[in-house]
Symmetry: C2
Subunit: 470 residues, 2 copies
């Protein structure tokens, strides 16, 4: 079955596949047995964590990558301002000007790994204008400027790949865009920010949000300014990409509802567990008859679901298709080499399809251009959810019945209830409820009425819970 390559430097390809010693970016492709096929010339822009990881994995696994792509992969040039990257650039041309890489006539595929949305956008547009294919790990760029970039790329007949943009090394974009192509996708729900999931996992051990955040910052899991991660902006970038692929609609980043985890109390983590749930920071996209839901918020997930058991910095995405039912994809959502894994999988796809008719390639947003529909996105108060409510109630008869009748008048029924014993010398007790699904607007009104009761102290804490299967 395994025939020897026609022209092979080693004579035996086994030896080249097994050798761990493929270093540098400028060897001939002859020792990989693909001498008759022109190597693919890569230009890498950015040599931070991800860029360095890409260079390392490419050098280490070059033989495997070439054997899968059917062509050798060569780093023609790197553009980076960093002087001491976490990789070996011996023998590779390095410039400080990333635009030089994009304009290098020998570079065929540009890897945009600089991050940000201003220079990155210009860089990618320039690469497309130069007729080069692009692979990016930049979720913000795709979420905010993807429609523009894809239009330019379509015009020019080049590929723009972005697997690394969502959930790091998990091949979730390929799964949704290709693997589930036969399905009408009904909804998806994902743990798509590792920092937030690490914090929520650690809070289960009884440590407060602030305490765990400091620990995460010390470990390098959280930025000095953690807003992007803990307020759900990063997750919103990823969610809007997943939703576009799942439902066949253009990217609509400004429509995502975002609620962070920074105000989450340990009490709620504990009561949720008592009720059989874990609190996860989910990105949820759902197709309804009235429109599409796009939302990121803390969510109570039944502990029997795999999604509830995804811990630490790991990511997972649960996707519900009408034919396949629920499927789940789990893995590292960040980190140098997991992200490099996704970037280089895209490079292999591009290398293989470089000379093909654009019509034979997977459409940017899964559906062919003329089939994309700008589906309306529902405002959050028109989204239906079941709810977890916690309030501080005066410890006297009749309070629960008043709360229940307010909910009932709003058409909301109670699914479960915990009433705690009062602490010594306290006249208020925690009252925790789980409700049936209702519109956000109905809950807003009911909560306003409950908060107005004399027997209820302070604000009502509310969190969503979702009827996820899988």
């Amino acid at each position: 079955m395994a025939s020897l390559p026609e022209l092979s430097y080693n004579g035996r390809l086994e030896s080249s596949r097994s050798s761990p010693q493929h270093r540098g970016g400028l060897q001939s492709s002859m020792d990989y047995g693909y001498a008759s096929v022109k190597p693919v010339q890569l230009g890498i822009c950015g040599l931070g964590t991800v860029g360095s990881g890409v260079v390392r994995v490419l050098q280490r696994n070059r033989a495997e990558l070439s054997a899968r792509a059917g062509r050798d992969l060569v780093i023609r040039q790197i553009g980076a301002r960093r002087d001491r990257p976490d990789c070996d650039t011996t023998g590779i041309a390095v410039t400080r000007d990333v635009f030089e890489v994009v304009r290098n006539p020998e570079v065929e595929v540009v890897l945009e790994l600089i991050g940000g949305t201003t220079t990155a956008r210009e860089l990618v547009l320039e690469a497309i204008a130069q007729g080069k294919h692009v692979v990016t790990a930049n979720k913000a760029l795709i979420a905010e400027h993807g429609n523009e970039l894809f239009a330019a790329a379509r015009e020019r007949g080049v590929m723009v790949q972005f697997e690394a943009g969502v959930a790091g090394g998990i091949p979730i974009i390929k799964a949704i865009r290709e693997g589930l192509a036969a399905n009408r996708i009904e909804w998806l729900a994902g743990i798509i920010n590792g920092t937030g999931n690490f914090i929520l996992t650690e809070m289960r051990a009884g440590r407060s949000f602030g305490e765990v955040l400091s620990h995460a910052q010390a470990l390098g899991y959280a930025e000095a300014d953690p807003t992007f991660d803990v307020e759900g902006i990063d997750a919103a970038h990823k969610l809007v990409i997943l939703a576009a692929l799942a439902f066949g609609m253009p990217l609509q980043f400004d429509k995502v509802y975002t609620e962070g985890i920074s105000r989450l109390s340990l009490l709620d983590v504990e009561y949720a567990e008592e009720l059989g749930y874990r609190i996860k920071h989910l990105g949820i996209a759902r197709r309804t008859e009235r429109g599409v839901e796009l939302r990121v918020h803390p969510t109570l997930v039944p502990e029997s679901l795999l999604l509830a058991n995804v811990n630490g910095v790991m990511n997972a995405v649960l996707v519900q298709g009408d034919a396949v039912g629920p499927t789940l994809y789990y893995g590292a959502g960040a980190g140098a080499e997991p992200t490099a894994s996704a970037v280089l999988a895209d490079v292999v796809d591009v290398a293989r399809q470089q000379g093909t008719d654009p019509a034979s390639r997977v459409p940017f947003l899964a559906f062919h251009d003329q089939a994309l529909e700008t589906l309306p996105v529902l405002p959050i108060d028109e989204v239906e959810s079941a709810w977890y409510l916690r309030m501080s109630a005066l410890d006297q008869p009749g309070v629960l019945s008043r709360v229940a009748s307010i909910l009932s008048e709003a058409g909301i029924s109670i699914e479960a209830l915990i009433q705690k014993a009062p602490l010594p010398e306290q006249d208020h007790v925690p009252l925790i409820l789980l409700t049936n699904p209702c519109l956000g607007a109905s809950m807003d009104k009911a909560v306003a009425r409950i908060e107005a009761l004399d027997s209820i102290d302070g604000a009502v804490v509310r969190l969503r819970t979702e009827p996820l299967a899988g």
Copy 2:
């Protein structure tokens, strides 16, 4: 962004995308907006559970499928002996001779859904000889005859796709073959037989293998002759396919070690739980310096792993890549529509790439032909595992020390131990051990010596446990 199609029957593609009423196989492609592109002509062979599911999903989601493929998909002919399929074949030409479908000059893509390995092999070879692309759901066919079929297909320049062959609707073949292309895959471990997983899940409630099997048969989850599922043959078919894709080697079905779950005792299910494990019937492929391990056997999995929490008929595959780390893929491993989901995803891939140069397509076994290596498969006694041992020991001092010294002399150390109190009027007690990893051959010898002790009654029960991460 979303421009209207140039030529569209409805004028608005939204209407056609949203309508649930696309029935039958012979409509014009005009109402999908791809009138300028020739529809793909499908020939379906087999109209059992999977075939009917494929027809149903294709009819229901035809607009979505076409929007993803960029071409309409038309069923040109069906070959089936069944008179009352679970789908509507109105308007589709149906013949009882599957070879007529394969030889129909209008059919471009053959869907082999008849099962078995004799007629199916002839059918696929004939389809390839006729220059037609093939999509199959047949794991046995690929595992046993894949090398021959791929060689023929390579010669003829056609595609042979088999996503539905492993883990039903989970796009695991695409994930390994494309999504993880940048990795050197180190090992994979999967729950790849739903019947077996259903039985093991139900046994946790204290019901014996035989009792649960009868129940599974009544529910239609198990065949009247369950050998294929419970003895691991079905899992071995799937494992050999996954291993070939992961490691880049030809299919070697006859080399898989297979051990079933039919002799599994409830006692061991319970003791495993006491030790923090669940027993799962895993297919495991691992690359070691001495060769490749290919094995299907009941395995103790730490309860903290997602894999341990995959219940009922669901499947999951955990894959360890050197760059990405562990990733897991979960979903329905069987059933009409989950399997149809995978078959039709393959059809979309084929439809898109029909006119492309074969070199631009993903290689059959992930690696290009000349890079495939026939790696040696280790015999099971040369495979290293940690072990769970259960024995019936005379309830007197010194027995444990004799057992421990036999293990120690074989270089095996004890990791954990449970010694049960004797039942009333019993002179023997159950003794349960977990050991460090050792070669199967070392354990064979140690167990023979333990069984020869006067103080040990009967055979030593042994099960493997694996150091899986993820």
